[in-house]
Amino acid sequence: MANRLSCAYENLSSSYLLTTTDYQKQFCHLYTHRLAEMTRLLTPLALKEWGTQVPIMKLCELRGEQNVQCIIIGTIYKHQAHKPSILRDISEENQLAPQPQRQNYSEPEDKLILEDELQRVRLQGGEFLESHKLATGIVCAVKGDTDSEGFFNVEKILFLESGPQKPLTVKLNSKLILISGLDQLQSHNFVDALNMFQYWLSGCFDNKSEAQSQVRLIVAGNSVRSSAMAHVPTLQVARHQANANDTVQAISQLDSWFASWAKAIHVDVMPGAYDPANFMLPQQPFHKCMFPLAAQLSSFQSVTNPYICRLDSALVVGTAGQNIADLLRSTALDSSLEALRCTLKWGHVAPTAPDTLACYPYISSDPFIMKECPHVYFAGNCEKFETDLHVGSGGKRTRLVCLPSFSKTQSVAVIDLATLDCRQIKFSVETE
């Protein structure tokens, strides 16, 4: 741990830690809170953008009147015929050939609905609305009017854009390393790459100065496995699956990797979709008992997914990628980067939770709202490496990073926290 640049670190993920749980609650509270909180944040934006000429109204105030120009703030619900449905699965469970899960169930026929606290209205807005790029759970303000057919004709749409951003004052050269998808169960395929990564991390490649500038390593999920275990359909619902021994073994391997990395650098490990953690977002940190070696090091910790931290003044927000994968399934967004950018614009890390993305039934908060615009915003376990410097309203700059999984690309991302530059480093060893 010697000779590293020092960097102030603050873990801001406490809102994602669940200390008590209550599963008697339903999901409506989360939506209600999301709408209330984001309405509070959106209202001044809408006034600023559109002035006070057009009133902000509730749907129930429209009383079926037509052609009244107004602004409505509400939650989007996208009606999709092929949305995964447990009801359909159950009725097909006894059929022989269940319909394969669709990779993407977005269709031109999908209906866009806006729901405020009490009512719903169908949205209509032609090309510019880009309804195929919107998803259930987004809160937005729309300006337009209702027509006789019961549609709301959207003229303008406004999103939160993730709140204000604090100025960036990072020391020169501090670098953040992001890695995801270690997939230990498949590690026999890329063990050389892992070794190279470790050498590189510790500056053994004659890259000491480079290594010294690296301040932190974030492991963004799917360290144990990167695909679901196969389900066996039966009549029963409780499927107590024997946990395969190889998972246990993979974790002890990981433990030693992490222990050796943590000797060189601060390591934060996030759980991912297929890791041994809870399933609902936010995923809780791994239990210490799984990493007996690494846990002894103060430079090693497991964190929540999503994860928020501040490195000096740089706000870093990221997930293991479930939010992005779910958006790609339910919308016609064509790349992970676009999906990531959208969630930033919408001001919400995981809008599709809880609808199609499992999430804890919060009753008095929605920790996924982005109230402060991050400097680095990443998602793990994407198809390929993609990055962009997003410049939002008021000159907010955010480095967007889609991390590919290491098991597939043997690469990591390095971000310069001062300039927000980002590059990919590959550790692939050409085997003949």
Binding site: R120, G150, L235, V237, N243, H287, A358
Partner: protein
Amino acid sequence: MDAKRKFNGNGMANGHSKKPRTYDDDDDMGGGFESELAAFEAMDDLDQTQLLGEGPEIQQTSERWSRAPPPQLNPAEDRLIFQQLDVENYLGQPLPGMPGAQLGPVPVVRMFGVTMEGNSVCCHVHGFCPYFYIVAPSNFEERHCAELHEALGKKVIADMRSNKDNVQEAVLAVELVQRQNMHGYQGDAKQTYIKITVTLPRFVAAASRLLKTTIIMSSFDFQDCRAFENNIDFDIRFMVDTQVVGCNWIELPPGVWRLRGRNSKPAPESRCQLEVDVAYDQFISHEPEGEWSKVAPLRILSFDIECAGRKGIFPEAKVDPVIQIANMVIRQGETEPFIRNVFTLKECAPIIGSQVLCFAQETQLLDKWAAFVREVDPDILTGYNINNFDVPYLLNRAAHLKVKNFEYLGRIKNIRSVIKEQVLQSKQMGRRENQYVNFEGRVPFDLFFVLLRDYKLRSYTLNAVSYHFLQEQKEDVHHSIITDLQNGDEQTRRRLAMYCLKDAYLPLRLLGKLMAIVNYMEMARVTGVPLESLLTRGQQIKVLSQLLRKAKTRGFIMPSYTSSGSDEQYEGATVIEPKRGYYADPISTLDFASLYPSIMMAHNLCYTTLLLPGAKDKLGLTDDQVERTPANNLFVKAELRRGLLPEILESLLAARKRAKNDLKVEQDPFKRQVLDGRQLALKISANSVYGFTGAQVGKLPCLEISGSVTAYGRTMIELTKNEVESHYTRANGYENDAFVIYGDTDSVMVNFGVKTLERSMELGREAADLVSSKFVRPIKLEFEKVYYPYLLINKKRYAGLYFTKPDKYDKMDCKGIETVRRDNSPLVANLMNSCLQKLLIERDPDGAVDYAKQVIADLLCNRIDISQLVITKELAKTDYAAKQAHVELAAKMKKRDAGTAPKLGDRVPYVICAAAKNTPAYQKAEDPLYVLENSVPIDANYYLEQQLSKPLLRIFEPILGDKAESVLLKGEHTRTRTVVTSKVGGLAGFMTKKASCIGCKSLMPKGYEDRALCPHCEPKMSELYQKELAAKQGLEETFSRLWTECQRCQGSLHEEVICSNRDCPIFYMRQKVRMDLSTQQGRVQRFGLPEW
């Protein structure tokens, strides 16, 4: 005097017969019709209750609601063409210039309909008079007619209890006619009958009774003179004689009709846009063929009401207010309703896309709704169970609140809609008490009745039905919540309104999906009866209508038959003893196409061709002219006389062939629907002809015909078996000796002993042709399908994979196997279904056995989802003689919470729970929710022994033989059992909980009580922790998916899910997953929070 005679409600409106009469209804083709007699009973008295007052005028309030204004018509130059939907009659005053009696009162027929432009029409048809025939006594001559006319007329008048209508003339005409008795062949000579035409329909019965019982003319004795056609409904009589069939098009040519207007005499009586008069012999009734097979843009109103009940009590109209009425109106042929609205009591927040009409007073709400119905002027009223609930409730409520003019819902201004009781008895559906409400000119078409008649379902709740046909669940708001929603604010009432609107919309979608209106309309056209009678009457009337039509053209008349209630039986269809087993080779199936109709055609079986005993010798017929049936009855051959029934059947089958051919070329989807409905209606009608002759308590049973039909059927099945088995032999050069392994009624299953589908199909086709050649035309054996593989369990119980082409199977065909029975738990149906799929589709008998074992093991280890175990029964009455599980449970639940306990008429879901030995089963029933919440152990043995074992053994015995029972029910997999510790009852109160190790379940040693693992298991902490996590992951996923599904279904993200639809498979799951997840979270947390 204007008393309305409803075609089916006739007996009910009856002033002095308040008791409900029993109607019988049976739809089985050969199932022996039970008495339908009461329904045919001649109407004999006037209803005095409907005479007073005249309802309000239609007020046009909305362009959207009202029909388009009718065109200006000039009767002298224009023609009026409309599709008639309802035919009824009433007593009115004669109209000068019209035929028939000129002194009032006279019967007038009223036809209601719609023009192609969508204008409603009421057409009064004048001059048609009721009549009947009696056999003329010998020596009765033309000159005696006048005397009989006068004498009988006087008698009938004198016989009337009162003569409020001032009837002066009872008998209109007495004449001699030459006709033939339909029953029995007596040569071609016609006999002399007296045709007696009377003035009023009720005089038909009176006159024929008087002729039988009293002396009318001193010189003649009519007591032994058989009466003919004196038991035909007047409406049917009219339709037969004027060639009007149900729902056909009526054309009034220029110059023959009169238009009623504001100042015309008589004044308009109806709320229809066009009201006209015409003579019964002046209009054109178009056959529903070609251009005239079209359908007018009928208005169909579907509605649903909500009432605010009190906790635990079924809503009573005298107490509980109607709070909402949702309405949807669609034009037949369109896909979306053009009127969507909801009438609410108290303010309700607006609903975009639907009109919300709020009323402060319930009386206003009801009044405006009735006005809405009159303004919309629907042709068809539908909804779900509106006949028995919504409509009577509204009428009773309006009467209780004294809402003026509410009851004027029909199309005749001065007739109120009233409720009548009706009891329907049927083998298939049991005894059902129905309520019937008249809506002159509008056809009540309750979807619930359609489903009861045409589909066998596990459950007939709207939820279950919409899930079954539309694969959609419906949010179900428990009635205890409805009142709370109503008493909330305008938003909670809006929520209720959304729910109500959906309940009004679903029936329309289902009607469309099932094409019910089109199919029923085609059935009415084919059989010639009014649309409404198809839902309220049995099969007999359809055959009767056709028989009368045919007989009339040939000069036959039908004797009236009084049921003797004899139990004379004839032998039923034959069944070739099944050679049980699992056949892995293809089994070809040969079917007789329309077997019973073709037998009747081939052998000329009819009332008119039957030779009664002795008739052969009397008529001097030779053996060549006569055919002796296997049942030893004699019928004359077609060369001598073609029977009426064969002719009816021929035209039905020919029409079906035409419809099928048209269907092949038709492109327009709506017309295709019509044609498909038509060919189906024709098929069903052809089959019901046989049933008509066999109906013991029917209009005209003739066991000689029905007995001969089945006898022919039996010999044909036998003959087929012999032919096939003697021709397809190794000796004749075929691969193997063929065996008929099973045969039933009209099909024969042959095992040709070949291995490929192609070959079995080839042989099947060949054999069908070979055997067909031995039979009289049009009897034809057809090769239809191959079962491959085929599991033959017993008579009428089999399953097979159904192939009509060699490359891919069409479906899995199961007969008589527990897949839909309502009194079983879903577990049985699902297990049977899965096992059969494995057996037949995957051809994996071992897999099927393993699967069954797995499910049994799951059952014994309490791993089956509770929704699979729920049995549902309707709480029909509480005082069953024998103790019944669901009744006991309902009583138990009432003690726990009277508010949510099931009420009379509710369906009670229950599961059977474990209890002490020898506890009777009826005490073991428990509410599934209670079971979930208190972890009450399930009686797995009950489910295994009472529910699963029999059906399972049945399908596995052909495969496993005698050892089936020991393999399935007694094997290794039954040894492990999980015992659940209940939180209630028994010893639960005495137990204390002690911490045990999650890893090895041993009791924790001292000092370790608050830890997850004992010292021994501690080294494996990571592994054991992961195991618990994995279980939690699964539960978390299920939790999320279930509760978000409900949120989507209820159509709101921000509102709590309050649905209590117990028919939904999710209902119990989502409750269980909550508990399981909490429990699992507790286990995980014993390892400590993941803190760093």
